[in-house]
Symmetry: C2
DNA sequence: CGGCGGCTTGATTCGAGTCAAGAACCGTGG
DNA sequence: CCACGGTTCTTGACTCGAATCAAGCCGCCG
């Protein structure tokens, strides 16, 4: 039941540990979860980490990089449901609802490194330490929380606010795992597919944010230089992300005088 | 741990049992779940079943009627995330993520009757019968599945298909719990808030479906009279609903010659 | 009978999609 | 080192679906 065959650098597991700590696990339980994880290797940007389909013998965990849950549309388009970062599990749904024919897939958007937890090891751990079950349940509930927010965001909000909201979420989630860079390593295509906007319009929206001084003007990267303003435009309220550590930074709406 | 104080008619629990059977529970476990349920009473259409906020000492279960998960928007609007039917739990999220400040609420759209499961009883049952935990996890995963589908549906699809898709889901979910009526007891306002369309435009879309012969022409009710055509317009694929019993009816896209 | 919530209709506006073409950037191989 | 092809990004012109505004209608309930 221990992950000895493929030990993992402790550092790679920091995001996972941070996340599961906020989900209510204590030190010993965190050790246990960490001990289940086995290294799996790297996936190049653009490739699928999880294909559509439903057979699997292990959970997959993102250790590094950015990935997305998505679905291919009839017309060839791509709907991105959510982005994923280090510490996120990519395929809970296959473990929990194995008999379903899942049309969801997970794609690496940057080069990623991934790890796995064998179902066998997971099950043993779950029966021995029932509290883990609740933590995993919580983790997937959080995903659902994010879906709801994306759903909300997609309906009824103008493009500027939509994009701002999406960017806020990414910044917050990256900070939660210790990534404080203001650069969001996604292409405009990725953002468009996640925001439900056409690439052309997304591009124009980005330019609007640039000219508002919210994003840096150097093309070819998305760099947030005025976070307060961004939060304001987005009317972002990050509480759905369940990040107590970051609440003070994201929860409060800056007063509306700025915009 | 038994629900003796407020016994419930067996019939009221049929939808719950049907649902949890498809989630993998066997007879004895179903008995146990059923035994936890205590009657709570009725809620009139329009009132909240679950208010926003995060304190609770019990799960809430819908026994009869239609409800919705929704969120109030800044501008007074209402975003409906999903509809709920008999057998659905309304507030898993409060049990699983109690510390979160939840801005989600649940509203009765028709007169509803509801029941509860005390957290205390639930926890006892979960520790004694770990398989229940997986079933509950599955149930909330299914909700997430529905959110994803709504998210997909809201983006990028024209109003006609959007509405058709939404209606298909409701028909399928109602059938799954034994309601075979072709009438969907929702107002156009409810449908608009769920589809992310304005009431005006939703109304026009309904009229489009009526003149296509998909919906009955008598105003003031939504009655599906040509289900095949509806499925076709929606390009509905109900597999995300995890309803093996109904698959044959909903899974397959009718060939495109009709439309 | 009056009022109110839900439904219907028309006119107008506007945000975002689409089409099309060009520019900047990136990796690769000669 | 540079030429190349393929992404990604940018810009402009045009179209169209859906929101909004406004008003009238219908049916129900008190």
């Amino acid at each position: 039941m221990v992950g000895l065959p493929n030990p993992i650098g402790r550092n790679s597991l920091v995001p996972l540990v941070l996340k599961f700590r906020t989900l209510g696990l204590e030190n010993e339980e965190l050790e246990i979860v960490a001990s289940l994880v086995k290294d799996k290797g790297r996936v190049r940007a653009g490739l699928d980490i999880i294909g559509a389909g439903n057979s699997a013998k292990h959970l997959t965990l993102l250790l590094m990089g950015v990935a997305c849950w998505y679905k291919r549309l009839e017309d060839g388009g791509r709907q991105i449901y959510t982005f994923q970062y280090a510490g996120d599990f990519c395929d809970f749904y296959r473990y929990v609802l194995p008999e379903r024919d899942h049309s969801v897939a997970v794609q690496a958007l940057t080069d990623c490194s991934i790890a796995i937890i064998d179902y066998r090891d997971l099950e043993q751990a779950l029966t021995r330490f029932p509290k883990l079950g609740l933590a995993f349940w919580r983790a997937s509930m959080l995903d659902a929380s994010i879906f709801r927010e994306r759903l909300l965001n997609g309906s009824h909000r103008p493009a500027l606010q939509r994009l701002a909201n999406l960017l806020c979420e990414q910044l917050a989630r990256r900070e939660a795992i210790g990534i404080n860079s203001a650069v969001i390593p996604l292409t405009q295509i990725d953002l468009a597919d996640a925001a439900g906007l056409s690439v052309v319009h997304l591009n124009r929206t980005i330019q609007a944010l640039r000219s508002l001084g919210v994003l840096a003007k150097n093309g070819h990267t998305i760099e947030v230089i005025d976070r307060k303003h961004l939060v304001n435009i987005a009317k972002f309220d990050g509480r759905y992300l369940n990040m107590p550590q970051l609440l003070s930074k994201w929860e409060i709406r800056i007063d509306s005088s700025i915009m």
